[in-house]
């Protein structure tokens, strides 16, 4: 089978899932106890006020009607207005999505930058002190709650040493990257630990593989040997892991964005759940599903590039 066709097939498998996700999240959102109007008006509003706003927002219509309206809107590319902020959901998400995407990508980059070299050092020194030390440190990274790591990094590196800004997002690309470094690092630590574990194991497997011995017998430089033969093969399994973890990175972004005051969609999602802001919850779930699917597709492509056997 042609590899392009194979990729298209992967895409085709994903697309119908979106319809399912759309319906599922619509139902799930309505299963949440409470409603957006009383959440917004608080404890003291009178029933009349409540009823008036509910009607104004169209939330008094039957659930099937609302579902049809939602799905129809999605097909027309209209996502409706946020109940809490009273501005179009599309605008809200457009304002917030870049920060989260950047944060996620940056944290994947940092996680790889940390995990790949250290996994090599650990694997090449398997069960000796550099290995044990690296594994212990990463274990701490893996076991420390994300909000605590964030607070620690903020306090020490930002507020005390003034090496980084204390949260926020800044203006312009360079400022964005600068502001997002610490949150990305926070998010990357636990992910790097997972990657490191997997990669260390893969390197240990690969390094004893016959083809590496054969490559050595060709008199290749250590750099070529490790980079081309060992790393590339070891990365194949790890790349899959990256794809599968994008979803949980986004989940972790919920807390990271809150601690670092990053204006991302993770925070928006949780705020919207807590506010029962249905249009935002629904649209955001779809947008995140698209994002994660694109990430999975990207890892498929990388994997295809790494491993010629995939997709043929």
């Amino acid at each position: 089978m042609n590899r392009g066709t194979w990729l298209l097939g992967r895409l085709a498998q994903i697309v119908p899932s979106f319809l399912f996700i759309g319906v599922a999240v619509f139902v799930l959102a309505r299963l949440l106890p409470g409603d957006p109007v009383s959440a917004m008006l608080g404890d003291h509003a009178t029933d009349a006020t409540l009823a008036r706003l509910t009607a104004q927002l169209g939330l008094d219509r039957s659930i099937p009607v609302q579902l049809m309206q939602f799905l129809g809107g999605v097909l027309r590319g209209e996502l409706g207005d946020s109940i809490a902020y009273r501005i179009p959901v599309a605008r809200l998400i457009a304002e917030r999505l870049p920060a989260t995407v950047l944060l996620t990508l940056l944290s994947v980059a940092i996680a790889l930058a940390l995990a790949v070299p250290l996994a090599f050092v650990a694997a090449l020194n398997a069960n000796r002190w550099p290995d044990l030390l690296i594994r212990f440190v990463f274990q701490i990274g893996l076991s420390t709650p994300i909000f605590y790591v964030g607070l620690l990094l903020l306090t020490v590196l930002a507020a005390w040493a003034h090496l980084f800004p204390v949260g926020g997002y800044g203006d312009g690309w360079r400022a964005h990257l600068w502001h997002l470094f610490l949150p990305a690092l926070t998010l990357a630590l636990s992910f790097a630990a997972v990657l490191m574990r997997s990669l260390r194991g893969a390197v240990l497997d690969v390094i004893n593989a016959e083809f590496v011995d054969f490559a050595r017998s060709k008199g290749l430089r250590a750099r070529v040997l490790l980079g081309r033969h060992v790393l590339r093969s070891a990365m194949i399994a790890t790349v899959t892991l990256v794809g599968l973890h994008v979803g949980s990175l986004l989940g972790g972004a919920v807390i990271t964005e809150s601690v670092f005051a990053v204006p991302g969609v993770g925070r928006l999602m949780v705020e919207s759940i807590f506010a029962r802001d249905y249009p935002v919850i629904q649209a955001l779930t779809l947008v995140l599903a698209v994002f994660v699917s694109l990430a999975l597709l990207a890892t498929d492509i990388v994997q295809m590039w790494l491993d010629p056997r995939v997709g043929r």
Partner: protein, 536 residues
């Protein structure tokens, strides 16, 4: 409606209460040099505003900053107990108490440079009292008409005498908006126009909004046409620009303040107050508030599941109140910054009647409980908004204090909408809550806490005929002294009946860099930046 709302819009926010009425803030150290003009102040807020329309908004996050964009005819005094001139310079009530004549200030311009007229005033008040508009119409329900008497004169006609009308005209929902500009805004209905207008609101306030990224930042610049003059005779505000940065995490906001990335921030956790007071670069400000923190009890005879409700017995409620050592709660939750409640209203509420409420007495509590069918103790569940640190502290402490009575307190953390739903449906035993007034008058808090026909006395089901009647009378009372006596009686009955568990009042904890001066927060919560400046 009123307001309230304090109770919480979000999990995680520490809203507790109680405050120290007396210790008003001190601004030590810095000599009061002449304010400096210019510069940009950056202020950290815990949550963003939602909808900057004076009439159609719903939440404190809007109310507390809107006065920087809009003005009202009168303004609340800084102690919260009276009103001062605003867009109106003079006012007089007719002898029958049903007609209030106001003289408008001369030369007031909106931030776009157009003149404010009597027409704008009439239109704004008519919009505020339109029953179809929003949650706050009750505050101005007594108005029957607004009459234009001349370019600078309007008369507000009342259905019946209403001593709270002056306070109402100093409340956010009666802010004056530019009629022509509003009506020229895109949209078919008032609601649609309001949505578009609130994107870039224009009022007569000291600042105007130039950029707003929801949940991230709100950028204000000074209104060059602002009418109010500083003591030096030049116009306010001092600042050229004011940024509101949204930083939900308490610790992060404080770190940003310490790093000098913010000039000031609101809602400092009580656990951090001492630390800030000890920091030479910072200044802790504790503003007297109308904030009270308490537990609401469901006093209906049966609970939602049909079981007998011990809290329907007044002696049980009294016993629970006596068993709680408020000072210990205050020490743990507010780090000693709160003060015990002395009425269901805060000390900053006009006509508050201070009493000694249920001073901790375990023996008395046991004795009271012994007189009830529940002398063997019982289990009771209290709902709270998940993640709220102050609520957790309060309930954990109370849990400990009720244990000697055999009362087992179960804590149930819920997310806000779930809690609100169960609360409104009366499907609860107890819940944590706090309240701040929106109006400098006791009628709002009383209508919510004690007057059953409004919202069933905080949805507690407590229905006291005498209090209901007293409240109705007081609403039309023309004699301030008599009105005060009526409120005194209401408060005494309320204390005796104890439909809530009284806890504490607490101040608004705000922190600034040493050079950021002149901010004021009034007991109603409004953030005043017109006099704020950055010292050299």
């Amino acid at each position: 409606m009123s307001n309230g709302l304090v109770l919480t819009r979000r999990a995680g926010l520490a809203l507790a209460a109680g405050f120290a009425a007396v210790p008003v803030l001190t601004l030590p150290g810095v000599a009061q040099a002449a304010p400096v003009r210019g510069g940009k102040m950056v202020y950290g807020r815990y949550a963003d505003s939602l909808f900057l329309d004076p009439v159609l908004n719903d939440a404190n996050v809007d109310i507390w900053v809107m006065n920087n964009l809009y003005d009202t005819l009168l303004t609340p005094m800084q102690d919260g107990l009276g009103v001062a001139p605003g867009l109106a310079t003079k006012w007089s009530m007719s002898a029958d108490g049903k007609s209030l004549a106001l003289t408008l200030r001369e030369g007031v311009k909106f931030a776009n440079g157009t003149q404010m007229t009597a027409e704008d005033v009439k239109w704004s008040l008519d919009r505020a009292r339109n029953p179809k508009n929003g949650a706050w119409v009750d505050l101005v329900a007594s108005i029957t008409d607004v009459v234009i008497d001349g370019p600078l004169a309007v008369t507000v006609k009342l259905k019946h005498p209403d001593l709270s009308i002056l306070a109402a005209l100093a409340t956010f929902n009666t802010a004056i908006m530019p009629k022509a500009l509003f009506e020229a805004t895109q949209g078919a209905t008032d609601a649609e126009k309001a949505k578009a207008f609130a994107e870039k609101p224009i009022g007569t306030g000291p600042f105007m909004l130039v950029e707003w990224q929801r949940g991230v930042i709100m950028k204000l610049v000074r209104n060059p046409y602002y009418w109010k003059m500083a003591p030096d005779g030049k116009p306010l505000p001092y600042l050229d620009a004011l940024d509101f940065q949204i930083i939900p995490d308490d610790s992060t906001r404080l770190l940003k303040l310490k790093a000098g990335e913010l000039h000031g921030t609101e809602f400092v956790p009580y656990s951090r107050v001492k630390e800030i007071q000890a920091d030479a670069n910072l200044r802790m400000e504790l503003w007297p508030s109308t904030k009270v923190t308490y537990l609401t009890m469901n006093v209906r005879p049966k609970l939602g599941d049909g079981s007998v409700n011990p809290l329907s017995d007044v002696k049980v409620r009294q016993a629970l109140n006596y068993a709680v050592n408020k000072d210990a709660v205050i020490a743990i939750t507010t780090q000693g910054l709160g003060t015990p409640m002395t009425s269901f209203m805060s000390k900053s509420t006009p006509m508050q009647h201070a009493q000694t409420l249920y001073k901790a007495d375990v023996a008395k509590a046991k004795a009271l409980l012994a007189e009830t069918p529940f002398k063997a103790g019982f289990e009771v569940t209290c709902m709270m908004v998940a993640g709220n640190v102050d609520s957790t502290n309060n309930l954990t402490t109370i849990q400990q204090m009720w244990a000697p009575l055999g009362v087992k307190l179960k804590i149930e953390q819920l997310d806000n909408p779930t809690l609100t739903k169960r609360y409104r449906a009366g499907d609860f035993s107890m819940r944590t809550a706090s309240w701040t007034d929106d109006i400098a008058d006791p009628n709002q808090i009383t209508s919510y806490f004690a007057y059953f026909p409004n919202i069933g006395s905080l949805h507690s089901g407590w229905d006291n005929k005498k209090v209901n009647a007293l409240f109705e009378t007081s609403q039309e009372e023309v004699d301030p002294a008599k009105r005060k006596a009526q409120y005194r009686e209401i408060q005494e009955v309320y204390t005796e009946e104890a439909p809530i568990l009284f806890l504490y009042e607490s101040p608004y904890p705000v922190a600034f860099r040493k050079n950021a001066m002149g901010f004021v927060q009034i007991p109603l919560g409004n953030n005043l930046f017109e006099g704020a400046y950055l010292a050299a």
